[in-house]
């Protein structure tokens, strides 16, 4: 029983049993921002409002590749209500480009536009409609250039160079200047292994361009400050990365650009790059007034990078008893007009291109192209998604050719702890690939013909086509498909990936209160919940407040790559441990002489008290901290180091941690109309340690649904002749509704990674990988069709392509 007896200074030792603070790690604590979000009070970036503020508007290129002959802003400037019109000539600093890794993206187009929708000019006006009308009055004369849209046009002998005279750190090793980066992975002897193969299967796979389609549009408010600097409230994934790119372009030192995270309406990689940040600051600094920019949905499709569309060629071999012999793969990713995260996507696609299987002899080559298509960069799953789509289709083909069960075949070849990756890296923590497959397979199947109702015929809502009433069950066939995938966690290839946390512990009104301050972007993933849980657990306090994320504290790194709970969670944990040491130091100083355990025992903070590992209470935190300065520490956390992949062989311990998920999809297909209804998408994933099961399951279901989307409906369609985007709206770019989304039963494994904080595994991305190929496999199973492209459209199912 928990005791509240005060034992300081000379109290009797008291036994406490498990007096953990409520809401510690492992509990399904509710979101601290939940109430604000359900009452409409949570301030998202598009909700910012400032007295006297202006509205910013971007004018974007209507063509994909052209020289800019002239820009005439005179009519726009003359409109009443217009405060500023800016073009490239108005940029205040020598630095005019930005970029995550390669600074190749112009703030405003200069001389040339390289993709449809590239920003060319900016307007600030007193009403958003005035700003839009003014932008429409800007006259731009373009001289169109031939467009580069695919590998053939990018690498043709007379291909126009997207970035002439590039001199970034990849330009020296790529075979052509229109290739952003190339990474081969070579291990073993593929030619010899091919000799041992009894069966060989080949496949050509096409992965469409997916969009993050977060609901909260790109938006924010820039407020000019008296010191000549600017305060920026914005939705982003990484404040400090933005800051590094923004300040030089504004010609300001970093400390004069103060950034605060405002409410983020989803991200999924789409907010890793700069969108309206610099534009809003430029307009605010020019007009001396606060400027708000909010993209509409149309502009949002041009305002962020997309998932790389890919063409993948795979060849696998296997012996007749079902052992994989070799893999030869070529992965061509379309990076679009600017580099963004393309180099890292190439690294992931190649190093994870063999999937979670043991294959000793491997040759993989991945490249990302520069084209005049929309720029592509980070999106949930990041390079691993495209590869998983291809290798999982290959596994089914091999199993079929060998006459084996597809799950059994995968399990026979599944990697495990100790397996050597094609990069030579040894997987040194649990890799339960076979077990995850076993679990999704063992789950009971959803009942057949669920649309049949007692007496009333069919409930059309449960059928493909739904309320459109396109079938009553005739022509509907069912199929089942499986897939599993591997994703890395955190930033790889030698990147100095760190995160910072500041923790303050003090007594307020007689109660110990911890404050956690990080620059972590909460994008919906629940980091704010988990940070409070960690602080409660480590400091044994109940009350934890989360400071708004801003650039007044060190970098937390990006909310991406499934890294944030690992990295910033790890930073909060470490900083709390240091704070705990300080508490004990003060305790020893104040009370050490009263009880020998201060010097001899292992001491813990639990339930607002200092206790020994035997459960004896030595003091309360309140008494220790009373009259002291608040304990205020800021520390950095780093994961174990990684190295870059060798540029020729791809060898190297490039990744921090691996994470795995498996899916079983059950679909029904109306073969007459080619309509697909996914009935169930059962998922199993190893999360190492679930810090908050409610959030874990929510993340897995959300990621699974994005994978479902790309399987059956999501694709940005770019005209192959003009490189123009055809469907930048929610009318034409479809994301799954609640009617398109099946039940998603989730099975969570917790096999601790000994190297990670609490043993956890980053989890956000893995479910997006295998969901897509599982659905494709199920549709193939139902229809007997080959289907090598996402998304599967009706015409692919009815033969009316």
């Amino acid at each position: 029983m928990a005791q509240n007896t005060r034992t300081v200074p000379a109290g009797t030792p008291t036994n406490v049993t498990q007096n953990h603070a409520k809401g510690g790690i492992g509990e399904s604590t509710l979101r601290p921002d939940g109430t604000l979000k359900v009452t409409g009070e949570f301030a998202y970036s598009s909700d910012m409002w400032h007295e006297d503020m202006l509205w910013g508007q971007t004018l974007r290129s209507t063509v994909a590749h052209a020289e800019i002959v002239s820009i005439d802003i005179s009519e726009a400037v003359a409109m009443s209500g217009v405060y500023a019109v800016l073009t490239y000539d108005d940029l205040p600093s020598e630095v005019k480009n930005y970029g995550l890794e390669i600074q190749d993206t112009p703030v405003l187009a200069h001389g040339k536009v390289r993709h449809h929708g590239e920003p060319v000019a900016l307007v600030a006006a007193d009403h958003p409609e005035t700003a839009r009308r003014a932008a429409a009055k800007i006259k731009i004369e373009y001289r169109e250039l031939p467009v580069v849209t695919d590998e053939a046009s990018a690498l043709a002998p007379d291909a126009p160079l997207i970035h002439e005279g590039r001199d970034d750190h990849h330009s020296g090793h790529v075979p052509h200047p229109n290739i952003v980066h190339r990474q081969p992975i070579i291990r073993g002897d593929v030619a010899a292994a091919r000799e041992r193969a009894d069966v060989i299967v080949e496949g050509e796979y096409v992965f469409g361009m997916q969009d993050q389609a977060f609901l909260g549009p790109e938006s924010g408010l820039a407020v000019p400050a008296e010191d000549g600097g600017v305060d920026l409230y914005v939705a982003t994934q990484w404040l400090h990365s933005d800051l590094k790119q923004i300040a030089p372009v504004l010609g300001l030192p970093e400390e004069k650009v103060r950034m605060t995270l405002s409410g983020v309406g989803g991200a999924f990689g789409g907010r890793e790059d700069i969108s309206m940040q610099i534009h809003a600051c430029l307009l605010a600094l020019r007009t001396g007034k606060p400027v708000k920019i909010v993209y509409n949905r149309f502009e949002s499709f041009f305002g962020h990078v997309h998932r790389h569309p890919a063409k993948l060629h795979y060849e696998h071999g296997a012996t007749k008893d079902g052992k994989l012999t070799h893999l030869k793969a070529r992965i061509v990713l379309d990076g679009g007009a600017y580099a963004s995260a393309s180099p890292a996507v190439v690294g992931n696609a190649s190093s994870l291109g063999a999937g979670p299987y043991v294959i000793d002899d491997v040759e993989i080559e991945a490249v990302a192209l520069y084209t005049n298509n929309p720029p592509c960069g980070a999106m949930r799953g990041f390079g691993a998604v495209q590869a998983c789509f291809a290798y999982e289709a290959q596994m089914d083909k091999l199993a079929a050719k060998l006459g084996m069960d597809p799950v059994e075949f995968r399990r026979m070849n599944a990697m495990e702890q100790g397996t050597v990756m094609p990069t030579g890296q040894v997987v040194d923590s649990p890799a339960p690939v076979a077990e995850l497959l076993r679990r999704v397979k063992a789950r009971p199947m959803p009942p057949e013909r669920q649309w049949e109702t007692a007496g009333e015929g069919a409930d059309v809502r449960a059928l493909p086509g739904g309320l459109s009433n396109t079938t009553h069950g005739e022509g509907v066939v069912r199929g089942v498909g499986y897939a599993v995938g591997i994703k890395n966690v955190g930033f790889s290839e030698g990147f100095d990936d760190y995160s910072t946390a500041r923790v303050v512990l003090q007594v307020i009104n007689g109660e110990p209160v911890a404050m956690v301050h990080t620059a972590m972007a909460e994008v919906g993933q629940g980091g704010v919940t988990v940070h409070a849980q960690i602080a409660r657990t480590e400091l044994g306090v109940t009350q934890v407040t989360i400071h708004p994320a801003d650039t007044q504290v060190g970098s937390a790194g990006s909310t991406s790559a499934s890294r944030q709970t690992y990295m910033t969670g790890g930073a909060v944990k470490n900083t709390c441990e240091a704070v705990r040491e300080k508490v004990l130091e003060i305790g020893r100083r104040k009370n050490g002489s009263y009880h020998p355990a201060w010097a001899t025992a292992e001491l813990l903070l639990e339930g607002g008290k200092v206790v020994t590992d035997g459960g004896e209470v030595l003091a309360t935190l309140a008494d220790i901290l009373e009259g002291e300065q608040p304990i205020d520490l800021e520390l950095e956390f780093r994961h174990r180091p990684t190295v870059p992949f060798d540029l020729v062989t791809g060898q190297g311990d490039g990744h921090v941690q691996y994470t795995f998920a498996a899916h079983r999809a059950v679909v029904e297909v109306d073969t007459e109309l080619g309509l697909v209804k996914v009935i169930e998408l059962a998922t199993a994933q190893d999360v190492g340690k679930a810090l908050n099961m409610l959030s874990v399951v929510g993340q897995i279901q959300g990621g699974t649904t994005q994978g479902l989307g790309v399987a059956v409906m999501e694709e940005i369609i770019v005209d192959p002749k003009t490189a123009k985007v055809r469907n930048p709206s929610f009318t034409d770019y479809l994301i799954p509704t609640i009617l398109d989304t099946p039940t998603i039963p989730v099975d969570v494994l917790e096999l601790a990674d000994p190297n990670a904080p609490y043993g956890l595994r980053g989890l956000g991305e893995a479910p997006t990988l295998s969901s897509t190929p599982a659905v494709l496999a199920a549709i193939r199973n139902a229809t007997g069709l080959e289907l090598n492209k996402t998304p599967v459209r009706p015409e692919a199912l009815t033969g009316t392509l």
Partner: protein, 199 residues
């Protein structure tokens, strides 16, 4: 033009409204009620859903002039609206007491508040569907949440014990990119069950 209408039970007037302005814009930018969200402004996502004389509508598709003399309920007024309904029965609508909602003056004081103290908002009285969304983990980024809450509340007003298919049908106009919807279904089931117990 000037538009007079009732928001969350309180008479409001908006001046200098352009002909093309949507109800969503007037609520968000003129009334200081940003709870209704602007995800597509095209009638496709349901994030901006409010009730107009009791009927759920996409406020981005309603011209401001169309609401002259009518009653609007937004997520900011949902708790009061639901409470009023519980006390006076369904179909009562609006907030006859006039005590609910945010006054224009109060609303105008609303300032850029990037993120707020993690503890604020606790102890606030919520409608059953709002509470259920929190309890079931149906809120991630939360951008879709206001629209879903209005739609789900209206469903539960019509149908106290909806089937899963009913819920899916009622919420099919509301996109959510984060949750995969499973926990949203859980939330609606939970609110319905609690409502059932309370009767």
């Amino acid at each position: 033009m000037r538009v007079n209408f009732t928001v969350n039970g309180r008479p409001q007037e908006a001046d200098d409204v352009w002909e093309g302005e949507s109800l969503l814009y007037v609520l968000r930018e003129r009334m200081g009620l940003p709870g209704s969200k602007n995800a597509c402004e095209q009638g496709e996502c349901g994030s901006c859903t409010v009730r107009l004389d009791g009927v759920p509508v996409c406020s981005c598709l309603v011209a401001a002039g169309q609401v002259e003399g009518r009653e609007v309920v937004t997520v900011e007024g949902l708790a009061e609206f639901a409470k009023d309904r519980a006390e006076h029965g369904a179909g009562h609508g609006g907030c006859a007491s006039g005590a609910c909602g945010t006054s224009l003056d109060e609303a105008k004081k609303w300032q850029a508040r990037p993120t707020q103290d993690s503890q604020t908002g606790e102890g606030v009285e919520l409608s059953p569907i709002q509470q259920a969304f929190i309890d079931a983990g149906a809120v991630q980024c939360g951008f879709c949440t206001p629209g879903l809450l209005i739609a789900a509340d209206e469903l539960l007003e019509r149908q106290s014990d909806p089937s899963d298919q009913d819920i899916r049908e009622a919420l099919s106009g509301n996109l959510c990119r984060c949750t995969g919807y499973e926990k949203i279904l859980d939330a609606v089931r939970l609110a319905a069950a609690r409502q059932g117990e309370a009767v």
